[in-house]
Symmetry: C2
Subunit: 378 residues, 2 copies
């Protein structure tokens, strides 16, 4: 196997697949990156067994020669080391050559590396994903959906299925739901193309976070294929595979209140900043709870009190107020996460009393819903 390649383009590809490689893996071959050379180009694969990322670098791109293939073949090279070497090479032309016994020579300018590779046939095969269950979303929308939901997954392993985001495709729409049982984030998307059948999968939160780092902010379509165990996100450059979580995701529909006794409309950014300040004192007591009180039809107060350190009161103007007066306490972190997901817009907060979950929605858009359980403070 022998090829020469433009260093900067190889680095771009490595940058994507390195996101799947973990130094903590217990499978030694997965500390490596698989490199496959064919007459069409180079395929790079990285994996931590949960996530697998594959990218393809063609011989020619935009009329520019990227790659010269002298002899096809495959090799696995230690990922971190290979990436560091390529990054630091002195010239933009890199020659990689594998001789017998997996000896791999990497040359650039007067730099001459010899690495001992691993046999590519030992590298796990990619999951087989048939194309019958498929939807397509623009990359920028997919990133937005991830940002609006993934923060709410559980970070503890006590109920593993809650560390993922449920994706449910039904009635021409996709509903994404994440909950850690203290708060819930839900986003609905109307699909333009009808999927062939109903689907219901739970995608690990960590996979979605990594996927989000690779996706561009472009409206280019991402094809999404699902099986019972795997999901594949396919862009022109990258294949991103993730295993799915097993187990029954709880039915969250009954959590969302249908009525409300207090409705407040408020600027999301002003509320976010007020809670951010109030949480400075709340944080010290470790529970991070702030109190929200309606003052009059034009004002709410966010407050926090920490006997050893001091107290804070923040008055925030509201746009409208309907229903009963209310004093309610909740996690400043959960509220800030929810407001960030709605991205500084005007929000409607609907309460059903101090001990019931409340919802936060954008006034412009019903597609996103955030729900938070209050905290009893007396």
């Amino acid at each position: 196997m022998k090829f020469s390649i433009m260093r900067d383009r190889l680095l771009d590809g490595l940058n994507d697949v390195m996101k799947a490689v973990s130094s903590k893996t217990t499978i030694p071959i997965l500390t490596g990156i698989k490199i496959d050379i064919s007459s069409e180009g180079v395929t790079l694969t990285g994996s931590d067994a949960d996530i697998t990322i594959q990218t393809f670098i063609p011989v020619e791109e935009d009329g520019k020669e990227i790659l010269q293939v002298k002899e096809p073949g495959s090799i696995v090279l230690q990922a971190r080391m290979f990436n560091e070497i390529i990054r630091k090479l002195p010239t933009n032309e890199v020659v990689v050559e594998v001789s017998e016994q997996l000896q791999t020579r990497i040359q650039s300018g007067k730099s001459d590396f010899h690495l001992i590779g691993s046999d590519a046939s030992e590298y796990p095969l990619l999951p087989d994903i048939s194309a019958d269950r498929q939807i397509t979303l623009p990359a920028d929308l997919l990133k937005t959906i991830i940002r609006e939901t993934v923060f709410a997954v559980s970070t503890t392993e006590s109920r593993p299925v809650l560390t993922g985001v449920k994706w449910e495709i039904k009635d021409n729409s996709l509903v994404c739901i994440a909950t850690d049982s203290h708060r819930l984030a839900q986003r609905k998307v109307t699909l333009e193309q009808l999927p062939s059948e109903e689907m219901n999968v739970v995608i690990p939160g960590k996979s979605l976070t990594e996927l989000s780092k690779i996706l561009s902010d472009s409206p280019h379509p991402v094809d999404i294929f699902m099986t019972n165990q795997q999901v594949l996100f396919k862009t022109p450059d990258v294949l991103f595979f993730s295993r799915l979580l097993e187990g029954n995701y709880p039915d969250t529909s009954r959590l969302i209140p249908e009525e409300s006794s207090t409705i407040v409309t408020i600027n999301g950014k002003a509320l976010l900043q007020g809670i951010d300040r109030a949480s400075l004192l709340a944080r010290e007591d470790r529970n991070n709870v702030v109190r929200f009180s309606t003052i009059d039809t034009g004002t709410v107060e966010i407050s926090s009190n920490s006997p050893e350190i001091g107290k804070v009161e923040e008055e925030i103007q509201i746009d409208s107020f309907e229903g009963e007066e209310l004093k309610i306490s909740f996690s400043a972190k959960y509220m800030m996460d929810a407001l960030k997901a709605i991205d500084g817009q005007e929000v409607v907060i609907q309460f059903t009393g101090a001990m019931r979950p409340f919802t936060i929605r954008s006034i412009h858009d019903d597609a996103i819903l955030q729900l938070i359980l209050p905290v009893r403070t007396y």
Copy 2:
């Protein structure tokens, strides 16, 4: 005590004094910042007992009113909390008011904080430094001197005096020396003003690193005052106090070889990059040793060999070569540190055999000298 102040100017001052505050202190009052208000302005003081930083914010600056003093006084407020609160306040005007029982109110816009302060009379007094032993250096030169020497101090406490940089003032010059007993960095500066007497102090490396972060890159003079236990660096805005290290600093003058058997002149940047690449493999074996070999009168080779991973050879052009052929091994890290201190210039490396310390100097400037002990590899 009561004053109102421009938030952004207060933040600048806090930013300086926060550098002295450590969360690890065992003295509770030192988790706070002392605030003293007089009719002239605000003085802020932070300290971790080793380093003390004081800054003064005047009532008026460049014809602009910064501060309105309603009532003079002093208070100590929890440093991290106070800093965070000020940073997040909603408007640029901040009112701070201390009532009886050290209750401190911080107001800005509709934000209203109440903190419990500590009695300023419990805060340690600043060291008393008399003005008789003084030198003056431009701030940019002082930063350069620190950068060229401080990296070579010892990081272990086995010989505490080696964790500092020795500053010796003698014969109209300042000589700064740092060594961890494996390598040495030395910088000479000719002083324009004669100091009143010889001085010899050891300044903790950590203090110099923190000082460097506060100093600007300007040629403004910094006045340096020394006593037997303390040094004070005085700029127009900031007083920076550090304790000195006790103990006898070793005599390093006999370490520096007077003769040499091999002299190589080489581009420091090319050598640095070659060693950086070679050390990728050397690092894995934890000792980080690379080999330097003269090849011919125009080339040296940097190489490293790690039986389990592979090997690397780097050929580097040299400008001139005098004396005997040489193969020598040394720490890649020490060599890279030394070359970075000389800042990418052409360097002269003088060797006296494979087992003797060697020196690195800029070809342009004799003021800076780096010395490294080789490693025996056979």
